[in-house]
């Protein structure tokens, strides 16, 4: 099955072009953030930041309240992910291992909740949070982020729990463990990789969330990084170096986590919105 020379070359050529198309924006973000100002605003773009500088990064990091925002983002995301992990662990154990009436209905609700149109619900959430007098606080954000990642967490953990052989649990129970002990001592340690992967996906979702924080937390000290990033341009004029440095600081942790998880991300997640 020999193909002609052209037949063998064109797929590779197209692949290179596509690689550039997909990778260029990310490259341009990082490259711009290292460039000197006169390279950024030169008539012909400078494609390699040969005279690199870290000035833009220090400008972004020294921006008003940057560290408060970092702390806010981390607090909200980590609390949301941990809470949803605990709630999801209980629920996913039930739907993976137990038979009961209403199981199917619950699974359907989980799948529906996975697709909840949060973007369109912001008005109602705004009114609820205002009536509770909790605008510009981190608690409502944490709660709603937890809810946003909960269905996905339940759904994936269910898969991980179902993958642990039932016999392991049963033999632990034969040896005198109660069901709860069997779960804690046998299943839980085997779930560690699954828990890790699930929580990192939850982390990405909550870390990137924008519509809700846009509506709920207008005060500067209660914002999170995505909101700050969209306002960075307005606040810093057209200082593209600093804006791109801020973008890089925000995006690079996510890129790293994603690469770390890529095997679990590819394939089989059609039913779960990893990113939507």
């Amino acid at each position: 099955m020999r193909r002609s020379l052209a037949g063998r070359t064109w797929p590779n050529a197209v692949a290179v072009v596509l690689f550039v198309f997909f990778a260029f924006p990310v490259y341009w973000m990082v490259a711009t953030s290292f460039k000197q100002d006169n390279d950024i605003i030169s008539k012909t773009p400078v494609f390699l930041p040969l005279h690199g500088t870290l000035a833009h990064f220090s400008k972004a990091v020294d921006a008003d309240g940057f560290w408060t925002l970092v702390r806010n983002s981390f607090t909200v995301t980590i609390c949301a992910v941990l809470a949803s992990l605990i709630i999801a662990l209980l629920a996913s154990f039930a739907i993976a291992r137990m038979k009961f009436k209403g199981r199917k209905a619950f699974v359907v609700v989980v799948m529906l909740a996975q697709m909840a149109p949060w973007e369109v619900m912001v008005i109602a959430i705004y009114m609820i949070v205002r009536d509770a007098d909790l605008l510009n606080r981190l608690v409502p954000l944490t709660l709603f982020y937890m809810m946003m990642v909960l269905p996905f967490t339940i759904w994936t953990l269910r898969g991980f729990i179902a993958a642990v052989p039932r016999e392991l649990e049963e033999s632990a129970m034969v040896d005198g463990c109660t069901r709860a002990q069997a779960f804690i001592k046998v299943i839980f340690p085997l779930l560690a990789p699954g828990l890790m992967a699930t929580s990192l996906f939850g982390f990405i979702t909550a870390w990137n969330e924008f519509p809700l924080v846009l509506v709920l937390n207008k005060q500067a000290e209660a914002q999170t990084l995505p909101l700050w990033l969209t306002q960075f341009q307005t606040n810093f004029g057209s200082d593209w170096g600093a804006t791109m440095a801020a973008s890089s600081l925000f995006a690079v942790p996510v890129l790293i986590v994603f690469f770390f998880l890529q095997r679990k991300a590819v394939g089989g997640l059609t039913s779960g919105a990893v990113k939507g």
Binding site: V120, M127, P226
Partner: protein, 338 residues
């Protein structure tokens, strides 16, 4: 078949277990009253255990998802503008908001715009994603790794960050896209302001969404392709089928479920997409790139017509529900593990 067998096995082992407990029952009873009480309690607990485990998740979902949805519906029947908002007044106005909306040109205009926006994006995403997936399948190992890396970068990029980067790429003064277009001989594009017209703003938004969404479709397409055995393609080639016929007569029919579910998923995602449109230009120029979710946000939160905004969201959610119903019909057919 395997699943069925599994179920039968599970059922029979259950039966064995109940038989065992039945035989051990009398022995337990003879050893005293206290023991029996605790056994009863154990079975009661055992029977309610799944519900107890589901309780936190159910409560949280009702409170944080169910209640806002109901609240949204409630708000849509109210006359709730800035005055009522500040004074905490509740003024019911029946279906007035809906009447106003459905008789206004603006709503229908936005709805149609949303529809075309979704169609254009999904068509580009599905065609692009399929082609890239097919290409991935044809590449050698090294080139596949290269292309996958590029796709992975685009996929992983946080939407807010990629929106910021696209604004910079399409900047009218120093943007690299304008420079490249003028370099390619299109001198009118030097210093072109992409946010100045509806069409150009939509082009940037579309490119941003398509760029970020193709990787998901491409990877899934590739994963699907690897499940088709090589012999089938070989046979098709022996019979003299070209690339197009192989795709329409072999690949597409086999991966039909994949195409259906992914298309619907993309339709839902694009239709409710919000961040890209808002963060790139706030729905501008002059509100001409507002899609339904953005329209609801601008009316409701921006212009503080909360009731009207809620009515727009309810209508948007209804459209989404119809789409989701179709999606669920597709995947319920596919997934027997439900």
């Amino acid at each position: 078949m395997a699943v069925e067998a599994e179920r039968v096995k599970a059922r029979s082992s259950d039966r064995q277990r109940t038989a065992a407990s039945r035989t051990s029952g009398p022995a337990g009873r003879s050893s005293g009253q206290r023991r029996r009480g605790s056994a009863d309690r154990a079975t009661l607990l055992g029977r309610s255990a799944p519900y107890l485990l589901l309780l936190p998740a159910t409560l949280v979902t009702l409170l944080l998802l169910g209640y806002p949805l109901l609240k949204n519906l409630e708000l849509s029947f109210q006359n709730l503008n800035i005055r009522q908002f500040i004074q905490h007044l509740t003024e019911w106005n029946g279906v007035q908001n809906y009447q106003d909306l459905l008789s206004s040109g603006e709503f229908w205009h936005t709805a149609v715009r949303s529809l075309f926006f979704t169609l254009a994006n999904v068509a580009l995403i599905m065609i692009g994603g399929t082609l890239v997936g097919l290409l991935l399948n044809r590449l050698g190992k090294k080139m596949r790794l290269l292309l996958s890396t590029g796709l992975m970068l685009a996929w992983a990029m946080p939407i807010v960050a990629s929106t910021t980067v696209f604004t910079w790429l399409f900047d009218s003064q120093f943007g690299v896209v304008d420079w490249m277009l003028s370099q390619l001989g299109w001198s009118g594009m030097a210093q072109y302001n992409w946010m100045s017209t509806q069409l150009s703003a939509f082009s940037v938004i579309t490119l941003l969404i398509v760029w970020g969404s193709i990787p998901f479709v491409a990877f899934n397409m590739y994963a699907g392709l690897t499940t088709i055995s090589k012999e089938l393609f070989e046979a098709a080639r022996m019979d003299g089928a070209g690339a197009w016929r192989t795709f329409t007569q072999l690949t597409f029919p086999i991966l039909r479920p994949f195409f259906l579910s992914t298309t619907f998923l993309e339709v839902i995602w694009v239709f409710k997409c919000f961040t890209q449109v808002v963060a790139i230009n706030g729905g501008g120029p002059e509100r001409s790139t507002e899609t339904l979710p953005v329209y609801a946000f601008v009316e409701g939160v921006g212009n503080q017509h909360f009731g009207m905004g809620a009515a727009i969201s309810v209508l948007t959610i209804l459209i989404l529900l119809v789409l989701m119903a179709y999606y669920f019909r597709i995947i319920v057919k596919q997934e027997d593990e439900l």
